[in-house]
Symmetry: C2
Subunit: 251 residues, 2 copies
């Protein structure tokens, strides 16, 4: 039973959804990809549903491919949001009714959803944001400019950030967020933004270099004021090794 829109809800599992917190880094700021809902003008995380033959991970990849144009995105599930009240106030329903979608579809959106949260780390410049059926805008918003979001999406975002901070302590971060070549101050700013606090420039460099996950290049960044900083790039082998084995693993 198809419907007028290009969204065929009948191929999706009931009660289950996913929401993605897509992190990017640009102009020394951590940004998140958000959608603005047509009807309510509320901002929301990109999300979607699960087809009958795909895993949650595949579904998240499929959703993000449409939303960003990217394939093989670095993705991690971090929490399941299952408060029975979380979707009671779903404001998407009036939207649905306005855009040529049948009442059966409104029922679909009105049901209770248990949502699996994913966070994604992507290289900002590669993303081509595309709104979905219910939104008119899809764009990057700086972390400190994000106010309240639709439903419990603010809570999902906060939990993603908290998870990312914990990961940072025992796993390398940056390979998926920075361009191939980057400077030490840029990498440091990324860490500072995620952690939400300032770090000592010299101690940071010492620690990062000790991990052996980045290599210094024979180039400097051009066209910047003051002294030109050296460029670095990640060492894929050691980075992967650090991902598997952890960094400062105590005990």
């Amino acid at each position: 039973m198809k419907n007028k829109s290009n969204l065929n809800i009948n191929q999706f599992l009931k009660h289950i959804s996913l929401d993605c917190v897509v992190f990017g880094f640009h102009e020394n700021q951590l940004k998140v990809l958000l959608l603005r809902m047509k009807k309510t003008q509320e901002w929301a995380l990109p999300g979607g549903f699960v087809q009958e033959d795909e895993s949650m991970e595949l579904a998240a990849n499929r959703v993000l491919k449409v939303r960003t144009g990217l394939d093989h995105i670095f993705l991690n599930q971090f929490h399941v949001f299952s408060d029975p009240e979380r979707s009671n106030i779903n404001p998407a329903v009036p939207d649905v009714l306005e855009f040529g979608i049948t009442f059966n579809d409104a029922d679909w959106f009105n049901q209770r959803f248990i949502s699996v949260g994913f966070y994604a780390l992507v290289e900002f410049s590669l993303v081509q944001p595309k709104p979905d059926l219910l939104s008119d805008i899809c764009e990057w918003i700086s972390l400190d400019e994000i106010g309240s979001l639709m439903m419990d999406h603010r809570q999902i975002l906060d939990k993603a950030l908290e998870t990312l901070r914990l990961q940072l302590v025992f796993q390398p971060i940056g390979y998926n967020l920075l361009p191939e070549k980057f400077t030490m101050p840029e990498l440091q700013k990324l860490y500072e933004t995620i952690l939400g606090k300032e770090l000592d420039r010299r101690n940071f460099q010492r620690k990062i270099l000790a991990y052996n996950i980045i290599s210094k290049l024979d180039e400097v960044r051009q066209g910047v004021p003051h002294k030109a900083p050296s460029l670095y790039r990640f060492n894929p082998e050691n980075y992967q090794k650090a991902l598997n084995e952890g960094l400062g693993g105590k005990w």
Copy 2:
């Protein structure tokens, strides 16, 4: 539409299940609560489904209350298992048909499930294991005696253990696994079992004491061979503080 058994599947959300890895510590061994399926004799994790008005956490608590007799169990979700093939080989179906359950119920068990994995830490001696409708045995099995499990439950167990190991590095563990009073060697053995490697007795004590989460008592363990070890107990306030703020948090 009720059925003959005391399991009313109609109150549950379709496609969604949960599985619990319940850890206990006894006789210096880490144990997991397992069920043996009546029909196939395979071992399985305790699990269940989600009612229409409860969160995943509430559902997990409800399931474990029945299975262990305990309330307010320390519970954490750790991963969602959503491989479309994971429940194709569900061996519970023949069981279901044999125990007076209607064919509609067999359909229920035959559907695809996305399962949220929880791990629980409980005090061994407080648990009163009870089998469920499809199992004849519910008991503690030592970690190193666990072979293959039903469906993907072995994979779920392994992931739970991996998560527990990571938690151990930056969060205190033990309050929920040990009796009120315990000895330093017991606590160390718990850490060693979870980490899967031996630790230096003296360095372990120094490190643990530095966290200020346990207090030494004016008692020693009675009736043990050789020198009687002192008893300790967790300091609830500092333990909770460490849970929130983390332990050796780098950066």
